[in-house]
Symmetry: C2
DNA sequence: CTGAAAGCGCTTACAG
DNA sequence: CTGAAAGCGCTTACAG
């Protein structure tokens, strides 16, 4: 900028005005500045401008998910971007990989870069360490999982009711022995989904059998192995609820291997591409990732603008989509 | 930092030394500084530090893909992150959406934020506008698509040979009438894949019939409509090559609707999750997105460290995976 | 409408 | 081992 000013023979301040599109500049001077900037291939330095500016806005927000390559995370990312881009805001993203330490490292990094706000799918269970940043004006919105020991807005699915609805669907068809396979139990939505499973069974007066319940299945292959084990046991269930998208894929693989895909009913939590093209089609409790991402981003921008509104938890409803796998009848009721 | 210095009763420079972990500080002073920093909840400002530092490294790279929610892009993103994170480098990402203008806007934004280098899946066809940034020291690596009118490293799949191999596979089974459905024709890999299709047909002495060739199919639904049309015609092909992952999904949907999934052979370019669980399993020419992302990132970091090596194009090989849909025989040879 | 001075939070280059 | 001064590229707050 200094060089541009020298070449255009104006002051630094005049160059700054032209670059920022202020209208109170003599057209003659403005065009001289523009010519000089083009000639020197001047590139404004946003970071310097942010450092000095009084509002201190960086026009950047951070998004921390567990794994950018999981389709659920990717959909959230995409919908956040769709809210941010029209505002001229850039999204910085990162993957936490269910590691509470990595969560802290990435947040510190983003805070050090002075993002305007942070969208967070947290791995940890104590977010009190964020209170200093929050007091210093950092805006936080928790996505998919609520904050713990910390007050911030959140946008989550109705994990408990959604799961209860999916399990109730199986119960209504006459299933009485329904297995359950879930993601890492320490993750709040995983715990809530299990609560929903218990709710539905209790409502129907069915006792839980720990022999057909598995937690902490975090990869497709772990889920596959668990489902194989459950269905190879002496007293297998007639139906299964898989409480996460990767778990559902593992369950499908296991049932295929056993040749049981048309005998055992399956309902999964979270929808995925091609679920309708499998045979049978996979019945799911679908989350609305797009709505979650969009609302989270909108709330974050609201917080960034004025940080005084009371903290709220927003619940996005899930929807049961029947495609066949969840409508398989139990043996005693089968045709 | 100034406030920390005041509270600890040392100079600004001493605080800077402690924060940056320099060892030439009296332990007594160092601990006083640390206490003061903790008490004031001091957060270092990375952007200010970068602005002043002589090497000017921001420890940030930019990644521009077409659509972060496409599984191919998501895999690249993930593998780039796996190279960047251990180096303490943050990845800034954005979606170009096949819009050459948006490409320029996002690049300008990233350059203004002084990223150390840029990984780019380009939408445009004239990258000469990047030469000023390149001369100013910005490192570029083109991913999945080569640069045009511009010299930079690139990492791409062997689109032409991979497609030729997939089509040759169908020809070897006796298919003579093979349809082709491709993504936006202006995209270089789309064009190269079509070249590969033509290569294989020419090699086998089979003439191309434009009636069963479609380009510019950019969404699943557009591909589905095109495939419906091709197979509903009076002279449908016995096999189809779908040249992109979304196109393949559309083709699968169309063949299902027509009840032809076990009659018409299908080979797709780019692998996707669950391809093996469909009936029939989908035969694909698989790209190694992880290798592409990883190599691209490594080359970029090499460029950032020393910018003098000659520009290279790296080709990552594809691999034919036979799963059933590509092994369906033509009617005259059918059992 | 234009510009000279000060300063954002930090590091450099130097002197002690 | 420690610190006072200058400056990274920009904007603010003011005077003209």
């Amino acid at each position: 900028m200094r060089e541009v000013a020298l070449l255009a023979e104006v002051s630094l301040k005049t160059v700054s005005r032209v670059i920022n599109g202020e209208t109170t500049v003599d057209p003659e001077l403005a065009s001289r500045v523009k010519r000089a900037a083009a000639q020197l291939n001047y590139q404004p330095n946003l970071t310097a401008s942010i450092l000095r500016r009084s509002d201190r806005r960086s026009a950047t927000i951070g998004l921390l998910v567990q794994d950018v390559s999981n389709p659920f995370s990717a959909s959230i990312y995409r919908s956040v971007e769709e809210v941010a881009t029209p505002r001229g805001v850039t999204v910085l993203a990162g993957s936490i990989e269910e590691d509470a330490h990595l969560e802290k490292v990435l947040i510190a990094n983003f805070v050090a870069r002075r993002v305007d706000g942070l969208l967070l799918v947290p791995a940890g269970h104590d977010h009190s360490y964020l209170q200093f940043d929050q007091r210093a004006g950092m805006a936080f919105v928790f996505v998919d999982r609520p904050p713990e020991l910390f007050a911030a807005d959140s946008v989550v699915s109705d994990n408990r009711q959604g799961t209860a609805g999916g399990v109730a669907h199986l119960l209504a068809l006459g299933h009485r022995r329904i297995g359950y396979c879930g993601d890492l139990f320490r993750i709040t939505p995983a715990r809530l989904r299990f609560e929903g499973y218990k709710d539905a069974l209790a409502q129907a007066g069915v006792a839980i059998d720990p022999a057909i319940v598995r937690h902490d299945l975090h990869t497709t292959s772990a889920a596959e192995a668990a489902v194989l084990e459950i269905f190879r046991s002496s007293n297998p269930p007639s139906a299964l609820f898989s409480a996460q998208n990767r778990v559902t894929v593992g369950a499908i693989r296991a049932l295929r291997l056993l040749g049981l895909e048309h005998q055992a009913a399956l309902v999964g939590f979270d929808d995925f591409e091609l679920a309708d093209l499998l045979e049978p089609g996979i019945t799911v409790v679908a989350q609305d990732a797009t709505a979650i991402g969009r609302l989270s981003a909108e709330i974050l921008f609201g917080r960034i603008d004025r940080n005084d509104a009371p903290v709220e938890q927003h619940v996005i409803h899930t929807r049961l989509i029947q495609r066949g796998s969840g409508e398989i009848l139990p043996p005693n009721r089968g045709s």
